[in-house]
Symmetry: C2
Subunit: 263 residues, 2 copies
């Protein structure tokens, strides 16, 4: 009956929580959002690794049975380095998303969008190439998408204008599959779909992560047998800001958000 731990630099990881709750409604979840140091997407590998270890140590205090890294930047930069330091299984968002994209593409052309950090890391390219060396990957950083989501501009004209500019190289390279490589981006799905056209498959890592978590817990005999789990939310700053945004990501309001002084 131990909880699943989930962490992110801020609020974006709640798209993963939403899927975990949908696919594994009986599980308890402890979420940590590092809102005092958000965003990670512009920070260096070394710093992201340090913050991630601190976040994992925080979650371990709650005796979590599995940790979900609900952040593409952390999964890209830090996960390969730190995964083996810990006993607890740690699931990132890169492998599940890459696997699904390789499965989905028919013309072997896959696009990836994410933060500067995620794109610079080339984590998706490397994972996709490992799975199928024939797939051609086009990866583009979209730094304004996170501010748009956090500002609540999800369907405005100006977002479409920016999306058209960012996504042009992906249209030019005729990808038939696009990985939304940042936990904020599922909220811009309708704009992205309009720009890319209905024939391009959008891969939302959150869904695949929940599938992977389900598989690991089931293999290890660790699935909860409760009917309904609870979720607790911890942030390193600004619980009010987190609460305001959380509804947008989870699709329902959150109440039990606590600020913790240090990670």
């Amino acid at each position: 009956m131990r909880p699943i731990g989930v962490f992110d630099s801020g609020v974006g990881g709640l798209t993963v929580v939403k899927e975990l709750v949908r696919q594994l409604p009986g599980e308890d979840i402890v979420y940590f959002g590092d809102t005092a140091r958000v965003p990670y997407g512009i920070k260096s590998k070394e710093t992201v690794i340090r913050f991630s270890i601190e976040n994992i140590l925080f979650l371990l205090r709650y005796n979590v049975k599995l940790i979900c890294v609900a952040c593409n930047t952390v999964s890209s930069f830090a996960l390969p380095k730190i995964k083996n330091h810990f006993r607890v299984p740690i699931v990132g968002v890169i492998s599940p998303g890459a696997r699904e994209a390789v499965y989905a593409t028919k013309n072997k052309r896959v696009g990836v969008i994410g933060t500067k950090g995620t794109i610079r890391s080339q984590a998706y390219e490397q994972e996709i190439k490992r799975l199928d060396p024939k797939v051609k990957v086009t990866a583009i950083a979209c730094p304004l998408f996170v501010p748009f989501v956090e500002e609540g501009w999800l369907n405005q004209d100006v977002v479409s204008t920016v999306a058209r500019r960012y996504l042009k190289p992906l249209k030019d390279s005729k990808v038939d599959t696009l990985i939304l490589g940042c936990t904020h981006y599922p909220l811009l799905k309708s704009v992205i779909r309009d720009v890319m056209g209905g024939k391009v498959t959008l891969i939302d890592s959150a869904k695949q992560v929940a599938v992977e978590v389900n598989k690991i817990l089931s293999d290890e005999g660790l699935l909860s047998n409760k009917a309904r789990g609870r979720a607790d939310f911890f942030v390193s700053d600004n619980p009010e800001w987190f609460k305001d945004l959380a509804g947008r990501f989870l699709g329902k309001p959150v109440k039990n958000v606590r600020k913790v002084n240090s990670v």
Copy 2:
């Protein structure tokens, strides 16, 4: 011959450094940008105060003769609380900007734009009211302006579209003076001027801060008598990112950027 210390959450404070170098070319400058925890504008008062104290303690290691808080969020949230803790004079951006706006306005209607934190703090309103209770202040948060500047989108159509939307309440309230209450905003001056019209006076705090620093150092007999000072830059993360952006803010490239492990 002690240096002036300057700090900001990241790169924005370089607009203040630019003015210091222009108005006080003989001064040495030690700059600290807290790029591991940038941005501050969305963070809580308590957290911004904690970070600011750490930044001041870092600068004091360099025996600075004055500290310039080149960040509106810190000046709004933290400065009133921490100013009196330290012996060294600490100059923020709020009072100089507010004073200049009160001096400039003819119709007694002043606008303020800034981050969410700065606007929520009402620091400009309070300072302006203190100087002249008859001035009517309209204050608006413009959260997308910083990401636009950091993305290098300074004159794009989409920035004008967003600016027109953000600035509409200021046009409606017929301000004749507008405080650019964030150190990033001077880079968007031409877009903001286009939207507001040529008759509105734009107040760039950086200039006023340098005037204030000059006055304090001169009153205390602490002005440098060198012909040309040097500037050293420290950041808590990502010196490369800082260097890339610094040119845009300073108008010339910076070389001596060092990463410091902790503040």
